[in-house]
Amino acid sequence: MNEKAWIELKDVSIGYERALLRPLDLTVRQGDFWGIVGPNGAGKTTLVKTVLGLLKTVSGEVRYPQGKPRFGYVPQRHLLNVNYPLSAADIVMMGRTDRIPLGRRPNAEDRRRVREEIERLGLTGIAGKRFGSLSGGQQQRALLARALVGDPDVLVLDEPTTGMDLPGETGILDFLENHHTCTGMTVLMIGHHIGSVVSVADHLCLIHKDADLFEAGPMSEMLTTERLTAAYGRPIEIDRHGRDVLVHAGEANHA
């Protein structure tokens, strides 16, 4: 908790013109790994877009105490138009756009960083292939490489493992965990499956606009049956086996 805050929300209402939830507080510190979970349509993406500055707040303001950080954003893959005739390498190079002066081609440093991220994410053999022809997992790794190639301070991912098979999901999560451990990069990740989020994050944010619920804090405090049950509106059970945590839907109480 001694690290400096990157992002602060105090009494901030998020939403599209109308507030989704009661005003919320959230402080993201340097080196935190936040998992953001909640049911579909809970307001997770709205929260993240507000943090990124893509959406205006309904009330209150998002503060960046150290100046606005450089963000690397991985959007939901299925929202992208695969008809663009772009290779995986073209997609990764997009992450350097704001560093390339107007009217200029990418310089040696831009190309080096793109090669580096392509190698790190295991895309070397498919970098020249059309993005739309890649598997979901390969597309996701290309988008992750694009987010990282701009050398961001904060990495933000919106459901990076949705629609992926188990090896693909595990590969992405292992990469993120290792990257966070090695670089100390701040990460905000919206998770589709709470089980995958709790395996890598150290902070958890529970959000559910229909229940007017927003809770955020260290994983150890947040990961309780009561809190998760309130967030998902159905019984959730937590099994702990040493360092491993298994979260699953429990039996519905029909009494």
Binding site: N83, Y84, M94, T97, G103, R130
Partner: protein, 281 residues
């Protein structure tokens, strides 16, 4: 062979029109790739209608203020060409701001400007033929000055895209990620739409609404069908557009067909042929 000789011998008749058509076709085919990829293919139609409303508004204002210069299209208190550009420019800002609702914005702009054209057109005192030629151009015969107008617009659009290509690509492909990476999204959306507005407005006035709309869509579809990269798609689209314009003009001349329709039909035939190439390649 007789027709061919006749065609070349009468080059003084078609030279200016051909040059204008080739420049407009190449530029609109390039911009069309952006429009098709962004799924805003009705934008050229709406921009052409909005710029027409601008022309009518200029005539009407000139009538109201007793300024007769507008009928010549120059030296007027409010030149119809500038008015068309102003209206198209304002519409492009509206489309850019609408972003996710740009389809709805396009339809609203098209309908309102079409209604304005019909309602206000009746109050103009100028000869209907003068107004029509300013509104919809004529691909067969163009004034030499149109080479300068269309050429300058194409040059401006080309320079703008050379400077901002990478930012236009990022913003078009994934606006949220571009915004998160500190690329100003709205500013670049407006610039991109302004480039559409400039080229469509000037081209509609020079070669007519049908070819301008046709060159904005059909060659781009060919380019995207056959091109394996953005560069490839742009090159193929521009080649398909210029072939449609040049050969379309020639065929319309020797077979005495409507020129604009011949160009668009040829662009459609090239698109159909590209489907065969794609299937058997």
């Amino acid at each position: 062979m007789l027709e061919t000789v006749s065609f070349w011998e009468s080059s003084f008749v078609w030279r200016d029109a051909m040059i204008v058509a080739l420049i407009a076709a190449a530029s609109l085919s390039y911009l069309g790739v952006w429009m098709v990829l962004r799924r805003v293919v009705y934008v050229p139609l709406a921009l052409s209608q909005v710029s027409s409303a601008g022309v009518v508004a200029a005539f009407l204002l000139a009538d109201l203020l007793g300024d007769s210069g507008a009928e010549h299209g120059s030296g007027a208190w409010l030149d119809p060409a500038w008015s068309a550009l102003l209206f198209a420019g304002l519409a492009s800002v509206y489309f850019a701001k609408a972003r996710n609702a740009s389809g709805r914005a396009t339809v609203v702009a098209y309908l309102l400007s079409a209604a304005a054209l019909l309602l206000l057109g009746g109050f103009i005192r100028h000869d209907l033929h003068d107004v029509s030629s300013l509104l919809f151009g004529n691909a067969v015969m163009v004034e030499t000055v149109q080479i300068a107008y269309v050429g300058a617009a194409a040059l401006g659009v080309g320079l703008l895209h050379l400077l901002f290509y990478r930012r236009f690509l990022f913003v078009s492909y994934d606006a949220d990620s571009a915004g998160a990476s500190a690329v100003p999204v709205l500013r670049h959306e407006i610039l991109l739409y302004l480039s559409f507005a400039l080229m469509i407005s000037v081209s509609t006035r020079a070669i007519g609404a049908l070819p301008a709309f046709g060159f904005s869509v059909l060659p781009a579809l060919t380019g995207l069908r056959l091109g394996s990269s953005m560069k490839g798609a742009f090159s193929i689209a521009m080649a398909a557009g210029t072939i449609s314009a040049g050969l379309g003009y020639y065929l319309s001349f020797v077979w005495e067909l409507p020129t604009g329709a011949s160009m668009v039909a040829l662009a459609g035939a090239i698109l159909a042929f590209s489907g065969l190439v794609r299937r058997f390649a």
